[in-house]
């Protein structure tokens, strides 16, 4: 792992005031200054030419600190989509979504639901059918909504001129979906790790029956189970980033890896959040306590960019199609 990048990301996200809600402009400014906001994009798109493995390091830290910034959306999704489609990138935070719009020339009409961070974005990249559309937030109507973690998931209504309309590159829809799921899996792994860290710390501080609750074997066994889930989530997400970096998003091995990673991190999310709350007792169930920053994200993110149920269905379909003789080559491929 890139230790320097890890330290940098930790220091940036660690400075965030996590108890607020909404876009964290301070952290975003630092991400832009340090080149992390567009880490994986090429230089001509204002990017830092980092790899997906670099992004994995930064996103795990973003998830661990519950960072309130559209980093996946800007770097992995909108930035990539616009750049590959040949559309110059607007400055500032971006967001991306796949959805149905009526497009005629440069006039677009329709409604896009649950668009992450739309209210904070300087540009909304939309993949609709065979087109890539760039919307200027000033020219659309935004109705605010949130996910379970109070992160913006807004409705965008458009009826008028787009900032750009171009042909979508081949395979854009499939790649956008995989990129989103990979980004989400990395954030999930980071949040799961932080929820465990908070629980281990709490178990070492909270005293009942005259000793720290972490001294009780029942509590230790629960935290060890959570640690197993965190290990699986981190391993799956970072291995998927590695496979995608090596093989590219068009490779079947990347499709399998990302599907497995999103499914496995989603599964871990539920288990870790449940144990973290159990260990924290009533205090963790309050708004005053930070635990919710991670657990509400775990619950929100496991359903986003393809729930584990959805990716499992895809994996199961692939496995059944491969059949008895093809299953092992599928796993090792």
């Amino acid at each position: 792992m890139n230790a320097e990048l890890h330290e940098l990301a930790e220091s940036i996200f660690g400075d965030a005031a996590s108890n607020d809600t909404g876009f964290d402009a301070g952290v975003w400014a630092t991400l832009e200054e340090t080149g992390l906001a567009r880490l994986t994009l090429p230089g001509e798109a204002g990017g830092s030419e980092g790899t997906l493995e670099d992004a994995a390091v930064v996103l795990a830290a973003a998830g661990a600190h519950a960072a309130r910034v559209p980093l996946v959306e800007t770097d992995l999704l909108a930035g990539w989509l616009l750049h590959t489609a040949g559309v110059p990138l607007p400055d500032g935070p971006l967001t991306a979504v796949a959805g149905e719009l009526d497009v005629e020339g440069t006039t677009v009409r329709g409604e896009l639901r649950r668009v992450p961070w739309a209210r904070a974005a300087a540009g909304v990249a939309v993949l609709t059918g065979t087109r890539v559309v760039l919307l200027d937030p000033a020219a659309v109507e935004i109705t605010e909504g949130t996910n379970l973690a109070e992160e913006p998931r807004d409705t965008v209504t458009v009826d008028g001129a787009a900032a750009a309309v171009v042909e979508a590159p081949d395979g854009a829809a499939a790649e956008l979906r995989l990129r989103a799921a990979l980004g989400r899996a990395l954030l999930l792994a980071g949040a799961a790790r932080a929820a465990l860290a908070a629980s281990v710390r709490y178990a070492g501080e909270r005293v009942q029956f005259g000793r720290q609750i972490g001294r009780f074997q029942a509590v230790q066994q629960q935290l060890a189970l959570a640690a197993g889930e965190v290990a699986a989530a981190s391993a799956a997400a970072s291995a998927a980033a590695r496979v995608a970096a090596d093989a590219g998003f068009a490779a079947p091995s990347t499709r399998l890896a990302v599907a497995a990673a999103k499914s496995r991190t989603g599964e871990a999310a539920g288990a870790v959040a449940r144990i973290a709350h159990q260990v924290h007792g009533a205090i963790g169930f309050t708004r005053e306590h930070d635990l919710r920053l991670w657990t509400t994200r775990l619950w929100a993110w496991r359903e986003e960019d393809g729930s584990d149920a959805e990716w499992n269905t895809e994996l199961g379909t692939t496995a059944l199609a491969a059949g008895p003789a093809g299953l092992w080559p599928l796993i090792t491929g």
Partner: protein, 390 residues
């Protein structure tokens, strides 16, 4: 508390390891060989083959092809290959459900341990036979009163002229009735309650030594796998002391990192999963269940590979190995549950092969998955210690 003050956790799993491209050819070769053997009807795929598939012909054949003792240097009859090459071979064998029990312990654990702690003479004596698939070993750790708590072993090693005399009883010794020798953990100094791990030593005991008595303990299926091994003043010469006297605990823990993280901890039931896919061909509405197993399996393999990569670079990631084994053995039980829920064919322990037989073997062997090599409760204790909770 704010997110700034995140509690630091240990690394629960090493960074991802990619198999080097050269292993693709090796994998293809092993796969072709296994297909050929199966077509010739030399064995039938079974669940939990690394426990029950004792087949000395097969082990020798693997030895002949250079697929045993792979990481042992050539001077000792091995092949000087990397742990990742070995990983590829072992996972192919397990996935195919091939009979690997005879050489398993010797190849997995004994070879690396002899290389690490053995004397030159011990290496020359045992390693070439292990690499040929002709010399089989057991592990003599457990005792009637020392299972999870290995520091409680009571087998005594007394200093005598030219060596040591062992007296005591080992239990659950896999394959002792076929094996040539085993590593016995014994107390070479009286027990000290303040330092429970001190005073333990390992000895290489030839199982045909005078004073060794081996008694079968049938599994619940009736199969002969386990044994009780009783020592009555068994003489072990000085040159068969393994490593240092008194360093037994340290040696045993380093051995366990090899034992715990391998693909056998999640592939014991893989032949059942494969067979289940065959039974389910054409069915719909089951994709989600199957996909859930695939996601877990894919992840476990990546975790296990990461540990293999870390072992290769000379580390002994005890914590990560415990995590992999704990998750892997629970996953194996989930495979059985899904198979039962999705396929309405009852298990048949008398069937030649196929789904009913694989399900029967898997169900009857399942209790062992979460016991052998350290129970899941004990593994979670190791993880809790790693988290700083004890």
């Amino acid at each position: 508390m704010t997110a700034t003050t995140l509690h630091r956790l240990p690394d629960l799993v090493p960074p991802p390891t990619e198999l080097p491209p050269r292993t693709a050819a090796l994998r293809a070769e092993v796969r072709a060989f296994l297909a050929e053997e199966q077509e010739a009807g030399r064995w039938t795929p079974r669940a939990d083959v690394w426990l029950s598939g004792w087949d000395e012909r097969f082990s020798r054949e693997l030895g002949r092809r250079g697929w045993l003792g792979m990481t042992i240097p050539e001077e000792y009859g091995g092949h000087g290959a990397s742990a990742l090459d070995r990983y590829v071979v072992t996972e192919e064998l397990l996935a195919a459900g091939a009979p690997v029990a005879a050489h398993w312990i010797a190849d997995r654990q004994i070879g690396p341990t002899l290389l690490r702690f053995g004397t030159e003479e011990q290496r020359q004596r045992f390693l070439p036979g292990i690499a040929r698939g002709e010399v089989y070993f057991g592990i003599g750790m457990s005792e009637p009163d020392a299972g999870s708590d290995l520091a409680a072993v009571r087998t005594r090693a007394e200093r005598v002229d030219g060596g040591w005399e062992l007296t005591g009883t080992k239990v659950w010794t896999s394959g002792a009735h076929h094996a040539h020798a085993f590593f016995a953990l014994a107390r070479s100094a009286p027990r000290d309650e303040q330092h429970r791990h001190a005073g333990l030593s390992q000895f290489i005991v030839l199982l045909d030594s005078p004073g060794v008595q081996i008694r079968p303990i049938p599994l619940l299926t009736g199969a002969h796998h386990f044994n009780e091994v009783v020592f009555d003043r068994v003489f072990v010469p000085d040159d068969m002391v393994l490593g240092e006297i008194g360093a037994g605990w340290k040696q045993v823990t380093s051995e366990l990192a090899f034992e715990r993280s391998g693909p056998e901890r999640f592939l014991s039931t893989f032949p059942l999963l494969v067979s289940m896919l065959g039974e389910l061909a054409g069915s719909t509405g089951i994709e989600r269940e199957i996909g859930g197993l695939v996601a877990r399996l894919w992840t476990l393999r990546r975790m296990s590979l990461a540990v293999a990569g870390s072992l290769e670079s000379g580390q002994a990631p005890e914590l990560a190995a415990a995590v992999v084994k704990e998750l892997g053995t629970r996953y194996e039980n989930e495979v059985i549950d899904v198979a039962r829920l999705l396929v309405a064919t009852p298990p048949d322990p008398g069937a030649e092969g196929g789904f009913p037989r694989l399900l029967a073997d898997a169900v009857l062997h399942a209790p062992g998955f979460t016991l052998r090599g350290g129970t899941n409760e004990v593994l979670r204790g190791i993880v809790a210690r790693g988290l700083g909770l004890r």
